[in-house]
Amino acid sequence: MKYWSEEIETMSRSEIEALQLKRLKTTLARAAHSPFYRELFRKNSINPEDIRSTEDLTYLPFTRKNDLRLSYPRGFLAVKEDEVVRMHASSGTTGQSTVIYHTAHDLNEWTDLVTRSLVVAGAGEKDVFQNMMSYGLFTGGLGLHYGAERLGMMVIPIGGGNTHRQIEFFRDFKTSVIHITPSYALHVSDVIKDMGLGPVDFNLRLMIFGAEPYSEATRDKLEASFRVRAFNCYGLTEMNGPGVAFECRQSEGMHVWEDNYLVEIIDPATGQPAGPGEIGEVVFTTLNREAMPLIRYRTRDLAQLFPETECPCGRNFRRLSRILGRTDDMLIVRGVNVFPSQIEHVLMKLPEVGTNYQIILNRVDNLDRMTIRVEIYGKMFHGEARELRLLRKKIQHELKEQILLSTEIELMEPGALPPSQGKAKRVFDNREI
């Protein structure tokens, strides 16, 4: 199967843009039913009917995560409570959790986008799908679950964790497609090796990655270790969850499902549109959601939008680069902007180091000091302190090239750093400012 929704997926740019404008108008009219947007429109004297093009959208203010928090629990609800059939919530680790509501229509559309994404990856009804993401309020589990079922795959709703059992299920149920976070995949790959198993023992062929940023080098490592094709899936709870953008088999960026989302890239400092192809903060407007429309929602994810719209896969939806970091992940070290993903990229290229790492920031005599802890890979050790000192220098050198900062490297025994399950905590900023 090449397309799931062929009519939509093969639209020309002008057809896509016409559909976007039509849906944007509906969205703005719906949004005006929610307490938050009713007040926002009133305060800023905005009449949704004045929006005549998608470009006019830039006259509207942004919606931020904090607006969702302050409007907890129902400030963004734009339909009657009776019409809501499900809610999801983000983890709330950084404050009040944020709630997203769905009508039956919303869930149906979301599921369709996920199914469309799985078809793009090359999955089909004969596949066995092991969903290794948490279920529950987190959208990664249920989102892919229903999309995979709709495609007709056999779904194993195992959730995250319990690695030995996951691996036994790979073998016993001939799992062919898995949905997993990259950091957990690294851990699973280590455990498979420890169990004396390898790719030949399994039937795996596709791996869907979501939920956290990671580097291209990590993807190469994982594709080689599992002998699968890996695809990036992008989503966030505020935009339903997974299935906002998905990579096609060209592996050059993720097609944003622009029939459902209007995407902008802005300079996070000024809020102004970023130039063509520039890295900036990703901003979305929902175009097909009833219960909870969101307008110009700032994701805090950093990425670039490729200027070209044509793709050999036949779709004309614009493509988003991999997520390069979070506006709030950005570390400022001695005045230099550093993203943990840059450090990961360097480490994953080195065969001598394992898959876990930690970034530790301290302030000593008013000076920032960055320490990177890496685990050495047992098979690359030949017994001499000298080679490890050289390795330490090599890591320092490569990091300096990439992030322009001097670092201290601490070499650790394999397994010394806590294994990463789910979203990994890698950065420990102990600086007191």
Binding site: G378, F381, H382, A385, L388, E410, M412, E413, P414
Partner: protein, 142 residues
């Protein structure tokens, strides 16, 4: 040819205890030990009565350890004993990567263990020069 075990260890309390615990539990006897310090980590080098088994025990418990061939030379435990070896190595332009020694019986004999790039060649050279070398079994059954 004798083997030593090199173990990578983070430089923090309890690390040496862990290694020696694992070996003691399995009846491994340590003949000689050195530690090289490199700041945040160290390299522990061990001569034991059963290096293959000891190395498996350590790696099996998640430690990073490897076996490495070394040359073990019997030395007379008296002034000048080591000098003859030094002179011979110099003459043959053999570079020592790492070395350590231990006394077998006080006033009688000691062992000088060297780590070189090409241990087999060095063994032949030293044998031809009349030195008494300890083989794998000799060393472990001291």
């Amino acid at each position: 040819m004798p083997h030593q075990i090199s173990v990578f260890m983070e430089n923090r309390p309890g690390k040496l205890e862990r290694v020696t615990d694992l070996l003691a539990d399995q009846g491994i006897n340590i003949r000689a030990i050195t530690i090289t310090d490199s700041g945040d980590f160290g390299i522990l080098k061990l001569l034991v009565n059963d290096p293959g088994k000891a190395c498996d025990i350590l790696t099996g418990n998640g430690l990073v350890a490897v076996l490495k061939e070394v040359v073990a030379i019997r030395v007379i435990d008296s002034p000048g004993g080591l000098r003859d070896i030094g002179a011979t190595l110099t003459r043959h332009r053999i570079n020592i990567d790492d070395a350590y020694g231990f006394v077998l019986r006080s006033g009688q004999s000691a062992v000088f263990v060297i780590q070189v790039i090409n241990p087999e060649e060095v063994e032949v050279i030293l044998k031809n020069e009349g030195f008494s070398l300890l083989g794998e079994k000799d060393l472990y059954q001291l």
